[in-house]
């Protein structure tokens, strides 16, 4: 393939151009949404600014703090490091979509029961992260929870109560499974 052929393909109609935008369709918290987006728009901006789902937070934009975690096709990712166009066709779950309405998931309820929230800014990312953990490891040890939490910074220092909350969910799951 020559440089010319590559250029021809780049300029061809299969290309998605940055301006004025490209169409994407995502399923966000169970709702299908279709929008025109710019190629460089990160997923976190699409969620917050385009869809006005402001539960997902921005803390650093360098992939460390974890405030922007969402589930992308069921897997936790940092939505500051994913382009919206990359999520075309995917299912996104944000903190607002973890539970229906005013219900709480067992994990959310456990956070509440265990004083695992202080300022609440890291909480959405923590919930998303721990939801992902419990999906594939329903009975994580304290050490496994702490290691999994490396992608979430909590400057209030809630870590210990979050660990306790996750363990309490695991224990309930185990005792329910054992019956």
């Amino acid at each position: 393939m020559s440089e010319q052929a590559a250029q021809a393909l780049l300029e061809g109609q299969s290309a998605l151009q940055a301006v004025p935008g490209v169409p994407v369709t995502l399923t966000v918290n169970g709702q299908r949404v279709s929008r025109m987006v710019s190629v460089d728009q990160p997923l976190v901006s699409f969620i917050r600014d385009t869809l006005n789902l402001t539960g997902t937070k921005v803390g650093c934009e360098t992939g460390q703090c974890g405030a922007c975690l969402v589930l992308l096709d069921g897997v936790s990712v940092k939505s500051c490091a994913v382009l919206t166009v990359q999520a075309n066709g995917a299912a996104v779950t944000t903190v607002e979509g973890l539970a229906q309405g005013s219900d709480m998931t067992p994990l959310q309820a456990a956070f509440w029961d265990n004083h695992a929230v202080q300022c609440g800014f890291c909480t959405p990312g923590m919930l998303v992260s721990m939801t992902d953990l419990l999906q594939h490891n329903p009975n994580p040890s304290e050490g496994e929870i702490r290691t999994w939490m490396d992608g979430n910074m909590c400057r209030c220092g809630c870590y210990q109560n979050i660990v306790r909350a996750v363990r309490s969910v695991a224990e309930k799951t185990q005792s329910a499974g054992g019956e």
Binding site: M1, S2, A6, L10, V39, D40, P42, S76, C80, G151
Partner: protein
């Protein structure tokens, strides 16, 4: 604002074609390209490799060798039983990368091709004698890991080429491997990471030994003097310690706020000894 285009080909052929353009670059996990300040400076064309199904998976061949697709997420590599059983150094290196979300999305190919000297997988792939499948517009070629990392921020990849997979040769006889790392407290990259792979002969002497460092030196590299010092020897604690003392000879080391070059050189020796000790314990 520079203009940015995005392509998401579903075949390798199309991806290679797209990457034939001078301003096109491949996009894998995204954790180095799409974070700030890099993201706002992006221009040209991004060729996302995510939809190319052929590039994902861990498969064991007839001869016992294992081939891992370049777009396989690190979490899947760390969890793959074939990797855990025969290539502990790789499983450990993959499990030590960044955090859970990075491991969910970052890929084998990205970790090898990206130029950051603190990436973990290069050490494991070097020590395990990985063979990189490299696809270009004209040909597919196989590059040995030891020929792949050529300098600071440099690899053997030519413009327009992609890593498509890595094959790890089948382990022979009594063998073992391990990865030891000191994490950078901020980035969680390796301040120093050392992978060791060893096999023993029928008499318990070291038949083959391969050791590599990442993060500490200017680029990922084998520690040949350690390898030659130990090969053929009975791997006593003293022999391991003596061999590890030569780790890093002749290399120049990186330096930052958390770890000076001297300290990285020291860590290279310490972690070499530890990685060898654990690798030998498995053999």
């Amino acid at each position: 604002m520079t203009s940015l285009s995005y392509y998401s080909p579903d075949s390798l052929t199309e991806a290679i074609t797209l990457l034939g353009s001078a301003d096109a670059r491949p996009l894998a996990g995204g954790y180095s390209l799409l974070i700030e300040p890099q993201r706002s400076k992006l221009g040209g064309a991004l060729v996302d490799l995510r939809r190319i199904g052929d590039l994902v998976g861990v498969t064991q061949g007839q001869g016992g060798e294992v081939t891992i697709g370049a777009m396989t997420p690190l979490a899947a590599i760390a969890a793959a039983s074939a990797v855990q059983q025969s290539y502990a150094a790789l499983a450990e290196a993959a499990a030590s990368v960044g955090d859970a979300q990075v491991r969910n999305r970052a890929t084998l190919g990205g970790n090898l091709a990206q130029s950051d000297a603190g990436n973990d997988l290069p050490a494991a792939i070097l020590a395990l004698g990985g063979l990189l499948h490299v696809q270009g517009a004209r040909e597919e070629r196989i590059v040995a890991a030891s020929d792949f990392f050529t300098g600071p921020g440099q690899t053997a990849l030519a413009a327009g080429e992609l890593i498509t997979a890595v094959t790890l040769p089948a382990p022979t006889g009594r063998s073992g491997s391990a990865y030891e790392k000191m994490k950078h407290p901020a980035t969680l990259y390796a301040i120093c990471g050392v992978a060791a792979s060893v096999s023993l002969d029928a008499n318990g002497a070291v038949e083959a030994c391969s050791v590599a460092v990442t993060g500490a030196a200017e680029y990922p590299t084998r520690l040949k003097s350690v390898e030659s010092a130990l090969t053929g020897k009975t791997p006593t604690g003293d022999a391991i310690a003596a061999a590890a003392q030569g780790a890093g000879e002749g290399l120049s080391f990186r330096s930052d706020l958390f770890a000076s070059a001297d300290y990285r050189a020291h860590l290279t020796r310490v972690l070499t000894q530890r990685a060898l000790t654990r690798a030998l314990a498995q053999a």
